[in-house]
Protein backbone atom coordinates (compact mmCIF):
# COMPACT_ATOMS: atom_id res chain seq x y z
CA UNK A 1 0.00 0.00 0.00
CA UNK A 2 1.24 3.49 -0.86
CA UNK A 3 2.27 5.44 2.29
CA UNK A 4 -0.46 7.81 3.48
CA UNK A 5 1.64 10.93 2.98
CA UNK A 6 2.27 10.14 -0.69
CA UNK A 7 -1.32 8.97 -1.25
CA UNK A 8 -2.76 12.17 0.22
CA UNK A 9 -0.37 14.29 -1.86
CA UNK A 10 -1.25 12.79 -5.25
CA UNK A 11 -4.94 13.50 -4.71
CA UNK A 12 -4.53 16.94 -3.13
CA UNK A 13 -5.80 19.85 -5.27
CA UNK A 14 -3.30 22.05 -3.40
CA UNK A 15 -0.39 19.78 -4.30
CA UNK A 16 -1.26 20.12 -8.01
CA UNK A 17 -1.42 23.88 -7.53
CA UNK A 18 2.05 23.77 -6.01
CA UNK A 19 3.38 21.56 -8.82
CA UNK A 20 6.64 20.48 -7.20
CA UNK A 21 4.93 18.59 -4.37
CA UNK A 22 3.01 16.40 -6.76
CA UNK A 23 6.01 15.95 -9.08
CA UNK A 24 8.14 14.80 -6.13
CA UNK A 25 5.47 12.35 -4.99
CA UNK A 26 5.13 10.80 -8.43
CA UNK A 27 8.90 10.65 -8.90
CA UNK A 28 9.09 8.67 -5.66
CA UNK A 29 6.26 6.39 -6.76
CA UNK A 30 7.77 5.68 -10.19
CA UNK A 31 10.97 4.66 -8.48
CA UNK A 32 9.62 2.79 -5.44
CA UNK A 33 6.01 1.75 -6.15
CA UNK A 34 5.19 2.33 -9.82
CA UNK A 35 1.94 0.36 -9.63
CA UNK A 36 0.50 0.08 -6.15
CA UNK A 37 -2.74 0.64 -4.30
CA UNK A 38 -3.57 3.81 -2.39
CA UNK A 39 -6.35 4.41 0.10
CA UNK A 40 -6.40 8.00 1.28
CA UNK A 41 -8.90 8.74 4.03
CA UNK A 42 -12.44 8.89 2.70
CA UNK A 43 -11.69 7.04 -0.54
CA UNK A 44 -12.13 3.49 -1.74
CA UNK A 45 -8.78 1.88 -2.54
CA UNK A 46 -7.44 2.40 -6.05
CA UNK A 47 -4.36 1.45 -8.02
CA UNK A 48 -2.08 4.33 -9.00
CA UNK A 49 -0.66 3.79 -12.49
CA UNK A 50 2.41 6.01 -12.73
CA UNK A 51 4.50 4.64 -15.59
CA UNK A 52 4.06 5.65 -19.22
CA UNK A 53 4.10 2.04 -20.47
CA UNK A 54 1.47 0.90 -17.94
CA UNK A 55 -0.83 3.81 -18.79
CA UNK A 56 -0.66 2.78 -22.47
CA UNK A 57 -1.30 -0.85 -21.53
CA UNK A 58 -4.47 0.05 -19.61
CA UNK A 59 -5.76 2.54 -22.18
CA UNK A 60 -5.12 0.12 -25.04
CA UNK A 61 -7.34 -2.55 -23.48
CA UNK A 62 -10.59 -0.65 -23.29
CA UNK A 63 -12.69 -3.82 -22.95
CA UNK A 64 -10.67 -4.98 -19.94
CA UNK A 65 -10.50 -1.55 -18.30
CA UNK A 66 -13.80 0.29 -18.49
CA UNK A 67 -14.49 4.00 -18.11
CA UNK A 68 -18.10 3.81 -17.03
CA UNK A 69 -18.44 1.03 -14.45
CA UNK A 70 -17.38 3.29 -11.57
CA UNK A 71 -16.69 7.02 -11.46
CA UNK A 72 -14.35 8.05 -14.29
CA UNK A 73 -12.93 10.76 -12.01
CA UNK A 74 -11.45 10.25 -8.54
CA UNK A 75 -14.22 10.80 -6.02
CA UNK A 76 -14.74 10.23 -2.29
CA UNK A 77 -16.97 7.48 -0.90
CA UNK A 78 -19.43 10.11 0.35
CA UNK A 79 -19.54 12.00 -2.95
CA UNK A 80 -19.98 8.75 -4.88
CA UNK A 81 -22.92 7.79 -2.65
CA UNK A 82 -24.52 11.15 -3.18
CA UNK A 83 -24.13 11.06 -6.97
CA UNK A 84 -25.57 7.54 -7.13
CA UNK A 85 -28.54 8.62 -5.01
CA UNK A 86 -29.19 11.53 -7.38
CA UNK A 87 -28.61 9.60 -10.60
CA UNK A 88 -30.63 6.43 -10.00
CA UNK A 89 -27.59 4.34 -9.08
CA UNK A 90 -25.22 5.65 -11.76
CA UNK A 91 -21.84 6.93 -10.53
CA UNK A 92 -21.88 9.73 -13.14
CA UNK A 93 -23.45 13.21 -13.03
CA UNK A 94 -22.99 13.43 -16.80
CA UNK A 95 -22.67 10.75 -19.48
CA UNK A 96 -20.24 11.93 -22.14
CA UNK A 97 -17.69 9.96 -24.17
CA UNK A 98 -15.52 9.97 -21.05
CA UNK A 99 -18.06 7.90 -19.08
CA UNK A 100 -18.97 5.53 -21.95
CA UNK A 101 -17.72 2.14 -23.06
CA UNK A 102 -18.50 0.23 -26.23
CA UNK A 103 -20.79 -0.07 -28.04
CA UNK A 104 -22.06 3.37 -26.95
CA UNK A 105 -18.63 4.97 -26.95
CA UNK A 106 -17.95 3.99 -30.56
CA UNK A 107 -21.39 5.11 -31.74
CA UNK A 108 -21.38 8.43 -29.93
CA UNK A 109 -17.80 9.24 -30.92
CA UNK A 110 -18.51 8.48 -34.57
CA UNK A 111 -21.18 11.17 -34.57
CA UNK A 112 -18.67 14.03 -34.37
CA UNK A 113 -15.36 12.35 -35.18
CA UNK A 114 -15.34 13.49 -38.81
CA UNK A 115 -15.62 17.14 -37.80
CA UNK A 116 -12.37 16.87 -35.83
CA UNK A 117 -10.22 15.11 -38.43
CA UNK A 118 -7.23 17.16 -39.59
CA UNK A 119 -8.35 17.33 -43.22
CA UNK A 120 -11.76 18.71 -42.20
CA UNK A 121 -10.30 21.21 -39.73
CA UNK A 122 -8.32 22.87 -42.54
CA UNK A 123 -11.47 24.73 -43.54
CA UNK A 124 -11.43 26.45 -40.12
CA UNK A 125 -7.84 27.64 -40.22
CA UNK A 126 -8.45 31.00 -41.90
CA UNK A 127 -11.13 31.91 -39.35
CA UNK A 128 -8.98 30.67 -36.45
CA UNK A 129 -6.18 32.89 -37.72
CA UNK A 130 -8.51 35.90 -37.65
CA UNK A 131 -9.40 35.11 -34.04
CA UNK A 132 -5.71 34.66 -33.15
CA UNK A 133 -4.78 37.97 -34.80
CA UNK A 134 -7.48 39.74 -32.83
CA UNK A 135 -6.13 38.20 -29.62
CA UNK A 136 -2.57 39.30 -30.50
CA UNK A 137 -3.79 42.81 -31.39
CA UNK A 138 -5.55 43.10 -28.04
CA UNK A 139 -2.36 42.01 -26.29
CA UNK A 140 -0.38 44.64 -28.22
CA UNK A 141 -2.87 47.32 -27.15
CA UNK A 142 -2.47 46.45 -23.46
CA UNK A 143 0.68 48.52 -23.20
CA UNK A 144 3.28 45.84 -22.56
CA UNK A 145 1.81 44.23 -19.44
CA UNK A 146 -0.92 41.67 -19.04
CA UNK A 147 -1.96 38.48 -17.34
CA UNK A 148 -1.35 36.17 -20.28
CA UNK A 149 -3.62 33.48 -18.78
CA UNK A 150 -6.61 35.74 -18.15
CA UNK A 151 -6.19 38.14 -21.07
CA UNK A 152 -5.12 35.80 -23.88
CA UNK A 153 -4.96 32.09 -23.08
CA UNK A 154 -8.44 31.78 -21.54
CA UNK A 155 -10.20 33.83 -24.20
CA UNK A 156 -8.72 32.68 -27.52
CA UNK A 157 -9.48 28.91 -27.38
CA UNK A 158 -12.83 29.77 -25.80
CA UNK A 159 -13.76 31.90 -28.81
CA UNK A 160 -12.62 29.23 -31.29
CA UNK A 161 -14.46 26.39 -29.59
CA UNK A 162 -17.64 28.38 -29.02
CA UNK A 163 -17.75 29.19 -32.73
CA UNK A 164 -17.28 25.51 -33.53
CA UNK A 165 -20.15 24.60 -31.19
CA UNK A 166 -22.32 27.50 -32.31
CA UNK A 167 -22.49 29.46 -29.04
CA UNK A 168 -22.90 33.22 -29.72
CA UNK A 169 -20.02 35.48 -28.70
CA UNK A 170 -22.21 37.30 -26.20
CA UNK A 171 -22.52 34.06 -24.18
CA UNK A 172 -18.79 33.34 -24.04
CA UNK A 173 -18.20 34.99 -20.63
CA UNK A 174 -20.97 32.82 -19.19
CA UNK A 175 -19.43 29.67 -20.69
CA UNK A 176 -15.99 30.60 -19.33
CA UNK A 177 -17.38 31.22 -15.85
CA UNK A 178 -19.31 27.94 -15.83
CA UNK A 179 -16.22 26.05 -17.06
CA UNK A 180 -14.05 27.55 -14.34
CA UNK A 181 -16.70 26.81 -11.72
CA UNK A 182 -16.81 23.19 -12.90
CA UNK A 183 -13.09 22.41 -13.18
CA UNK A 184 -12.18 24.86 -10.43
CA UNK A 185 -14.82 23.56 -8.04
CA UNK A 186 -12.11 22.98 -5.39
CA UNK A 187 -10.47 26.39 -5.94
CA UNK A 188 -11.82 29.21 -3.73
CA UNK A 189 -10.76 31.75 -6.39
CA UNK A 190 -12.89 30.06 -9.05
CA UNK A 191 -15.68 28.01 -7.52
CA UNK A 192 -19.27 29.10 -6.96
CA UNK A 193 -19.06 29.36 -3.18
CA UNK A 194 -15.80 31.32 -3.13
CA UNK A 195 -14.65 29.15 -0.22
CA UNK A 196 -12.57 26.06 0.35
CA UNK A 197 -14.65 22.90 -0.13
CA UNK A 198 -14.41 20.65 2.91
CA UNK A 199 -17.75 18.86 2.80
CA UNK A 200 -18.49 16.17 0.15
CA UNK A 201 -22.19 17.02 -0.04
CA UNK A 202 -21.53 20.71 -0.60
CA UNK A 203 -18.94 19.82 -3.23
CA UNK A 204 -21.32 17.59 -5.20
CA UNK A 205 -24.19 20.07 -4.85
CA UNK A 206 -21.98 22.84 -6.25
CA UNK A 207 -20.84 20.78 -9.23
CA UNK A 208 -24.38 19.64 -9.90
CA UNK A 209 -25.69 23.20 -9.87
CA UNK A 210 -23.09 24.13 -12.51
CA UNK A 211 -24.02 21.08 -14.62
CA UNK A 212 -27.71 22.04 -14.39
CA UNK A 213 -26.93 25.57 -15.58
CA UNK A 214 -25.11 24.12 -18.58
CA UNK A 215 -28.05 21.79 -19.28
CA UNK A 216 -30.58 24.59 -19.16
CA UNK A 217 -28.50 26.55 -21.66
CA UNK A 218 -27.87 23.67 -24.06
CA UNK A 219 -31.42 22.31 -23.89
CA UNK A 220 -32.60 25.59 -25.40
CA UNK A 221 -29.87 25.32 -28.02
CA UNK A 222 -31.04 21.80 -28.92
CA UNK A 223 -34.58 23.09 -29.55
CA UNK A 224 -33.20 25.86 -31.72
CA UNK A 225 -30.93 23.61 -33.80
CA UNK A 226 -33.68 21.05 -34.34
CA UNK A 227 -35.88 23.83 -35.74
CA UNK A 228 -33.05 25.68 -37.52
CA UNK A 229 -30.07 23.42 -38.21
CA UNK A 230 -26.79 25.21 -38.99
CA UNK A 231 -23.28 24.23 -39.91
CA UNK A 232 -22.10 23.79 -36.31
CA UNK A 233 -21.41 21.12 -33.73
CA UNK A 234 -24.62 21.90 -31.83
CA UNK A 235 -26.64 20.99 -34.93
CA UNK A 236 -24.80 17.66 -35.22
CA UNK A 237 -25.57 16.83 -31.58
CA UNK A 238 -29.14 18.10 -31.70
CA UNK A 239 -30.03 16.23 -34.89
CA UNK A 240 -27.73 13.22 -34.51
CA UNK A 241 -29.06 9.69 -34.38
CA UNK A 242 -27.65 6.67 -32.54
CA UNK A 243 -29.06 3.39 -33.84
CA UNK A 244 -31.76 5.39 -35.59
CA UNK A 245 -32.87 7.27 -32.45
CA UNK A 246 -32.06 10.82 -31.29
CA UNK A 247 -29.46 11.07 -28.53
CA UNK A 248 -30.81 10.64 -25.01
CA UNK A 249 -31.24 13.85 -23.01
CA UNK A 250 -28.40 13.18 -20.57
CA UNK A 251 -26.08 12.01 -23.37
CA UNK A 252 -26.84 15.03 -25.59
CA UNK A 253 -26.40 17.51 -22.73
CA UNK A 254 -23.18 15.79 -21.69
CA UNK A 255 -21.86 15.97 -25.26
CA UNK A 256 -22.35 19.75 -25.28
CA UNK A 257 -20.88 20.11 -21.81
CA UNK A 258 -17.67 18.25 -22.56
CA UNK A 259 -17.19 20.24 -25.78
CA UNK A 260 -17.96 23.53 -24.03
CA UNK A 261 -15.59 22.88 -21.11
CA UNK A 262 -12.73 20.48 -21.88
CA UNK A 263 -12.84 21.72 -25.48
CA UNK A 264 -11.25 25.04 -24.55
CA UNK A 265 -10.05 24.83 -20.95
CA UNK A 266 -7.33 22.26 -21.70
CA UNK A 267 -6.00 24.29 -24.63
CA UNK A 268 -6.10 27.44 -22.49
CA UNK A 269 -4.12 25.73 -19.74
CA UNK A 270 -1.54 24.44 -22.20
CA UNK A 271 -1.19 27.83 -23.90
CA UNK A 272 -0.79 29.65 -20.59
CA UNK A 273 1.62 26.98 -19.32
CA UNK A 274 3.70 27.22 -22.49
CA UNK A 275 4.08 30.98 -22.09
CA UNK A 276 5.02 30.57 -18.44
CA UNK A 277 7.63 27.93 -19.37
CA UNK A 278 9.03 30.11 -22.17
CA UNK A 279 9.31 33.06 -19.78
CA UNK A 280 11.35 30.90 -17.41
CA UNK A 281 13.43 29.50 -20.28
CA UNK A 282 14.14 32.49 -22.53
CA UNK A 283 16.67 30.52 -24.59
CA UNK A 284 13.81 28.23 -25.64
CA UNK A 285 11.79 31.26 -26.76
CA UNK A 286 14.76 32.53 -28.80
CA UNK A 287 15.07 29.15 -30.50
CA UNK A 288 11.42 29.16 -31.59
CA UNK A 289 11.48 32.85 -32.48
CA UNK A 290 14.50 32.31 -34.73
CA UNK A 291 13.18 29.06 -36.19
CA UNK A 292 9.37 28.93 -36.42
CA UNK A 293 9.63 25.33 -37.64
CA UNK A 294 10.13 24.54 -33.93
CA UNK A 295 6.57 25.64 -33.13
CA UNK A 296 5.41 22.03 -33.64
CA UNK A 297 7.96 20.92 -31.03
CA UNK A 298 6.91 23.72 -28.68
CA UNK A 299 3.30 22.57 -28.92
CA UNK A 300 4.06 18.92 -28.10
CA UNK A 301 6.43 19.89 -25.29
CA UNK A 302 3.93 22.28 -23.75
CA UNK A 303 1.18 19.63 -23.90
CA UNK A 304 3.57 17.24 -22.12
CA UNK A 305 4.72 19.95 -19.71
CA UNK A 306 1.27 21.09 -18.61
CA UNK A 307 -0.67 17.83 -19.02
CA UNK A 308 -3.95 19.61 -18.26
CA UNK A 309 -5.89 16.39 -17.58
CA UNK A 310 -4.34 15.05 -14.39
CA UNK A 311 -6.07 11.69 -14.27
CA UNK A 312 -8.88 9.46 -15.38
CA UNK A 313 -10.10 6.39 -13.56
CA UNK A 314 -10.66 2.93 -15.05
CA UNK A 315 -12.39 -0.15 -13.63
CA UNK A 316 -11.17 -3.69 -14.34
CA UNK A 317 -13.89 -5.81 -15.93
CA UNK A 318 -12.04 -9.07 -15.14
CA UNK A 319 -9.07 -10.31 -13.14
CA UNK A 320 -5.92 -9.15 -14.92
CA UNK A 321 -2.18 -8.85 -14.57
CA UNK A 322 -0.46 -5.53 -15.07
CA UNK A 323 3.26 -4.92 -14.57
CA UNK A 324 3.46 -8.08 -12.49
CA UNK A 325 0.59 -7.10 -10.18
CA UNK A 326 -2.71 -8.94 -9.85
CA UNK A 327 -5.59 -6.62 -10.57
CA UNK A 328 -8.97 -8.01 -9.45
CA UNK A 329 -12.24 -7.61 -11.32
CA UNK A 330 -13.90 -4.41 -10.09
CA UNK A 331 -10.63 -2.75 -9.00
CA UNK A 332 -10.37 0.96 -9.62
CA UNK A 333 -7.25 2.41 -11.31
CA UNK A 334 -6.03 5.99 -11.47
CA UNK A 335 -4.12 6.77 -14.68
CA UNK A 336 -1.73 9.55 -13.75
CA UNK A 337 -0.92 11.42 -16.95
CA UNK A 338 1.48 13.96 -15.36
CA UNK A 339 3.47 11.04 -13.99
CA UNK A 340 3.50 9.20 -17.33
CA UNK A 341 4.72 12.40 -18.95
CA UNK A 342 7.64 12.68 -16.50
CA UNK A 343 8.60 9.01 -16.76
CA UNK A 344 12.40 8.86 -16.80
CA UNK A 345 12.21 5.59 -18.79
CA UNK A 346 10.68 7.45 -21.74
CA UNK A 347 11.74 11.09 -21.44
CA UNK A 348 15.35 12.17 -21.03
CA UNK A 349 15.58 15.00 -18.47
CA UNK A 350 11.80 14.90 -17.97
CA UNK A 351 11.78 18.05 -15.82
CA UNK A 352 13.49 20.09 -18.53
CA UNK A 353 11.29 22.12 -20.88
CA UNK A 354 12.78 21.43 -24.31
CA UNK A 355 11.10 22.52 -27.54
CA UNK A 356 13.48 20.30 -29.54
CA UNK A 357 12.48 17.12 -27.65
CA UNK A 358 12.09 14.28 -30.17
CA UNK A 359 10.42 11.88 -30.02
CA UNK A 360 7.87 13.32 -27.63
CA UNK A 361 5.31 10.59 -27.20
CA UNK A 362 3.43 12.08 -24.28
CA UNK A 363 0.17 10.64 -23.01
CA UNK A 364 -1.52 13.95 -22.29
CA UNK A 365 -4.26 13.21 -24.86
CA UNK A 366 -4.65 9.66 -23.59
CA UNK A 367 -4.24 6.60 -25.79
CA UNK A 368 -6.48 3.98 -27.35
CA UNK A 369 -10.16 4.38 -28.16
CA UNK A 370 -10.63 7.28 -25.71
CA UNK A 371 -7.82 9.43 -27.09
CA UNK A 372 -8.81 13.10 -27.10
CA UNK A 373 -11.29 13.83 -29.87
CA UNK A 374 -10.23 17.48 -30.15
CA UNK A 375 -6.46 16.95 -30.20
CA UNK A 376 -5.98 18.10 -33.80
CA UNK A 377 -8.07 21.23 -33.21
CA UNK A 378 -6.08 22.00 -30.06
CA UNK A 379 -2.78 21.69 -31.95
CA UNK A 380 -4.04 23.87 -34.79
CA UNK A 381 -5.25 26.57 -32.38
CA UNK A 382 -1.89 26.70 -30.64
CA UNK A 383 0.11 26.65 -33.88
CA UNK A 384 -1.83 29.55 -35.34
CA UNK A 385 -1.62 31.60 -32.13
CA UNK A 386 2.13 31.08 -31.79
CA UNK A 387 2.70 31.91 -35.48
CA UNK A 388 0.80 35.16 -35.10
CA UNK A 389 2.18 36.11 -31.69
CA UNK A 390 5.85 35.26 -32.25
CA UNK A 391 5.90 37.31 -35.46
CA UNK A 392 5.25 40.37 -33.27
CA UNK A 393 6.63 39.46 -29.84
CA UNK A 394 10.21 40.67 -29.42
CA UNK A 395 10.82 39.82 -25.78
CA UNK A 396 8.94 39.06 -22.58
CA UNK A 397 9.43 38.12 -18.95
CA UNK A 398 7.40 37.29 -15.89
CA UNK A 399 5.94 40.29 -14.09
CA UNK A 400 5.03 38.65 -10.82
CA UNK A 401 4.43 35.14 -9.61
CA UNK A 402 2.31 32.84 -11.79
CA UNK A 403 -0.34 30.77 -10.04
CA UNK A 404 -1.93 27.43 -10.83
CA UNK A 405 -5.48 26.29 -10.16
CA UNK A 406 -6.30 24.33 -7.04
CA UNK A 407 -7.67 21.15 -8.61
CA UNK A 408 -6.79 17.51 -9.13
CA UNK A 409 -8.67 16.68 -12.33
CA UNK A 410 -8.49 19.24 -15.17
CA UNK A 411 -6.34 22.25 -14.41
CA UNK A 412 -3.43 24.49 -15.29
CA UNK A 413 -2.21 28.04 -14.69
CA UNK A 414 -4.75 30.61 -13.55
CA UNK A 415 -2.46 33.66 -13.63
CA UNK A 416 0.67 34.32 -15.71
CA UNK A 417 1.58 38.02 -15.31
CA UNK A 418 4.05 39.17 -17.98
CA UNK A 419 5.85 42.27 -19.30
CA UNK A 420 6.64 42.28 -23.01
CA UNK A 421 7.71 44.19 -26.09
CA UNK A 422 5.85 43.76 -29.37
CA UNK A 423 6.31 45.26 -32.81
Amino acid sequence: MIPDEIASTIISPWAYSDGKKVDDAFTWLRREMPLEQAQPEGFDPFWVVTRHADILEVERQNDLFHNGDRSAVLTTIEADKQVRAMMGGSPHLVRSLVQMDNPDHFNYRKLTQGAFLPQNLKALEARIREIARAAVNRMAEMGGRCDFARDVAFLYPLHVVMEVIGVPESDEPRMLKLTQELFGSQDPDLNRSGAEVTDAKAGVDTVQSVVLDFMTYFNAMTDDRRANPRNDLASIIANGKINGEPLGYLEAMSYYIIAATAGHDTTSSTTAGAFWALAENPEQFRKVKENPALIAGLIEESIRWVTPVKHFMRTATADAELAGKKIAKGDWLMLSYPSGNRDEAVFKDPFKFDVTRSPNKHVAFGYGAHICLGQHLARMEMRVLWEELFARLESFELDGEPKSMVANFVCGPKAVPVRYKMN
Binding site: L56, E59, R60, Q113, F116, L117, P118, Q119, S358, P359, K361, F365, Y367, G368, A369, I371, Q375, H376
Partner: protein, 59 residues
Protein backbone atom coordinates in the same frame (compact mmCIF):
# COMPACT_ATOMS: atom_id res chain seq x y z
CA UNK B 1 4.94 -0.87 -57.46
CA UNK B 2 7.54 1.89 -57.27
CA UNK B 3 5.90 3.80 -60.12
CA UNK B 4 2.55 4.01 -58.36
CA UNK B 5 1.53 7.32 -56.81
CA UNK B 6 2.07 7.51 -53.06
CA UNK B 7 -1.05 6.98 -50.98
CA UNK B 8 -2.24 8.34 -47.65
CA UNK B 9 -3.72 6.25 -44.83
CA UNK B 10 -5.59 7.44 -41.76
CA UNK B 11 -6.28 5.91 -38.35
CA UNK B 12 -10.00 5.53 -37.75
CA UNK B 13 -9.63 6.18 -34.02
CA UNK B 14 -7.43 9.24 -33.71
CA UNK B 15 -7.03 10.65 -37.21
CA UNK B 16 -3.25 10.06 -37.41
CA UNK B 17 -2.17 10.30 -41.04
CA UNK B 18 0.44 8.07 -42.63
CA UNK B 19 1.63 9.53 -45.92
CA UNK B 20 3.74 7.04 -47.87
CA UNK B 21 5.73 9.88 -49.46
CA UNK B 22 6.75 11.38 -46.10
CA UNK B 23 6.93 8.13 -44.14
CA UNK B 24 7.34 8.61 -40.38
CA UNK B 25 11.06 8.72 -39.64
CA UNK B 26 10.49 9.10 -35.88
CA UNK B 27 8.73 5.74 -36.01
CA UNK B 28 11.48 4.21 -38.14
CA UNK B 29 9.55 4.45 -41.41
CA UNK B 30 11.67 6.12 -44.05
CA UNK B 31 10.12 8.45 -46.64
CA UNK B 32 8.72 6.36 -49.48
CA UNK B 33 7.81 3.37 -47.29
CA UNK B 34 4.69 1.85 -48.81
CA UNK B 35 1.74 0.85 -46.64
CA UNK B 36 2.14 -2.74 -47.84
CA UNK B 37 5.73 -2.76 -46.55
CA UNK B 38 4.66 -1.96 -43.00
CA UNK B 39 4.25 -5.13 -40.88
CA UNK B 40 0.70 -6.32 -40.22
CA UNK B 41 1.22 -6.09 -36.45
CA UNK B 42 2.21 -2.43 -36.62
CA UNK B 43 -0.02 -0.15 -34.55
CA UNK B 44 -0.92 3.52 -34.80
CA UNK B 45 1.91 5.45 -33.09
CA UNK B 46 -0.55 7.91 -31.58
CA UNK B 47 -3.27 5.67 -30.17
CA UNK B 48 -2.36 2.01 -30.66
CA UNK B 49 -5.09 1.18 -33.17
CA UNK B 50 -4.19 -1.88 -35.31
CA UNK B 51 -3.02 -1.35 -38.89
CA UNK B 52 -6.16 -3.10 -40.13
CA UNK B 53 -8.25 -0.20 -38.79
CA UNK B 54 -6.76 2.41 -41.10
CA UNK B 55 -8.50 3.78 -44.19
CA UNK B 56 -6.93 5.01 -47.39
CA UNK B 57 -7.94 8.64 -47.86
CA UNK B 58 -7.64 11.41 -50.44
CA UNK B 59 -6.21 14.66 -49.10
Amino acid sequence: MSGEPFKVWQCRTCGYIYDEAAGDPVEGLAPGTRWSEIPADWICPMCGTPKADFDMIEL
